[in-house]
Symmetry: C2
Subunit: 216 residues, 2 copies
């Protein structure tokens, strides 16, 4: 397996790191600073830790698991040199906290987070995927019954192929992967987060579910 | 079955009208003016036709199947008197045409169309439902395999019960109906339209599919 750099030490980054380490991948997880306290929690995982730049420099494949509100600032701190020619899997959601209410997506149909990352780093191959589900489902799809769906959006066919291989290593079957097209299609999955949160609440705050696309 | 007034003579309104007439309902479909040419196409259906006000006045149950961009103007032309105490099923989507691009939802997470309708007509019982699928699936869910999902959002339990009965008459089973909560939850399903359009395109412009919520 390729080397992987994960940006972000939240529950998503940690879950992806643990699963990839379990699968034998060579992973470095990055935080804002290499001595971040949040990295201590990663010590029990068989992964390396460092700064965002350390993680990006380490991985042939980079996963953006930062808070979507900060993703562009994190990538700017890394710098484009560490990102050139690499596949960047963007699993982030850009949700603005609302006092006394639910987090609100700030994306628009013509300005997804993934699109803005791709525009800012034209020599990086951005693939949006996995953002429409809880992280435990991302890395272990078999915990949800049936042929539920993971979406992919990206401009580069080779990069999407690499992400499909990553997904397959997590247990996703080819028929569960739905390629929506170019990176301009990423707004669709990003805008599903409001419904995801509502369904999660309606299910009694149970996030172990996923979207499926059923047809005739 | 109750009397039904359908606002809107597009493909959604016509499909709902045809199906309800087939089920023996007493339906009037309304257009901007009672002598609208679009009503002529409805002649072969066993439904009455008239103005928006005629349809709203006729129905105990009212279905908003207008273009979401015009829904509030249509309801204003009807006037609140014809809407008081009635259940209004809002199946509309508010999509702004984009030159050379895909229609773009204008809703925001805290300002769904259904919420704005409810705010404007506090004595009407607004229930958002059915907007997350093509109209042929709305009225005949069995054309899609498996336990796909129809969402409901609304503040009044009695009104939601009436809409659940309407859905049941179309063939929806109770386990396929997912009550998301109050009308403030309607933004979730409304924001799914961008993904719906992208999936439809990825499927070769085939809209005979629906979302399912799969779980453990």
């Amino acid at each position: 397996m390729t080397t992987v750099g994960i940006l972000g030490t939240g529950i998503v980054g940690r879950t992806l790191a643990a699963r990839l380490a379990e699968l034998g991948a060579d992973v470095v997880v990055g935080a804002r600073t290499a001595d971040s306290q949040s990295l201590e929690q990663l010590a029990e995982l068989n992964v390396g830790t460092g700064s965002f730049a350390d993680a990006a420099g380490h991985g042939d494949l980079i996963i953006n698991a930062t808070n979507g509100l900060h993703s562009l600032a994190v990538l700017e701190s890394v710098g484009s040199d560490a990102l050139v020619g690499k596949t960047l899997v963007d699993v982030a959601n850009e949700l603005q906290p609302v006092e006394g209410g639910l987090p609100k997506p700030v994306v628009a149909a013509d300005a997804s987070l993934a699109q803005r990352i791709q525009d800012a780093y034209p020599d990086t191959f951005v693939v949006k995927s996995l953002n429409t589900m809880g992280c435990h489902v991302m890395v272990n799809p078999s915990i949800v019954a049936g042929d539920h769906t993971v979406f992919l959006s990206g401009d580069d066919a080779g990069a999407k192929q690499r992400v499909q291989e990553l997904l397959a290593s997590f247990g996703w079957r080819p028929e569960q992967m739905l390629d929506l097209g170019g990176i301009d299609t990423a707004a669709g999955p990003e805008l599903m987060m409001t419904a995801w949160i509502r369904v999660m609440i309606a299910r009694g705050f149970d996030g172990t579910f996923n979207w499926a696309v059923n047809s005739a």
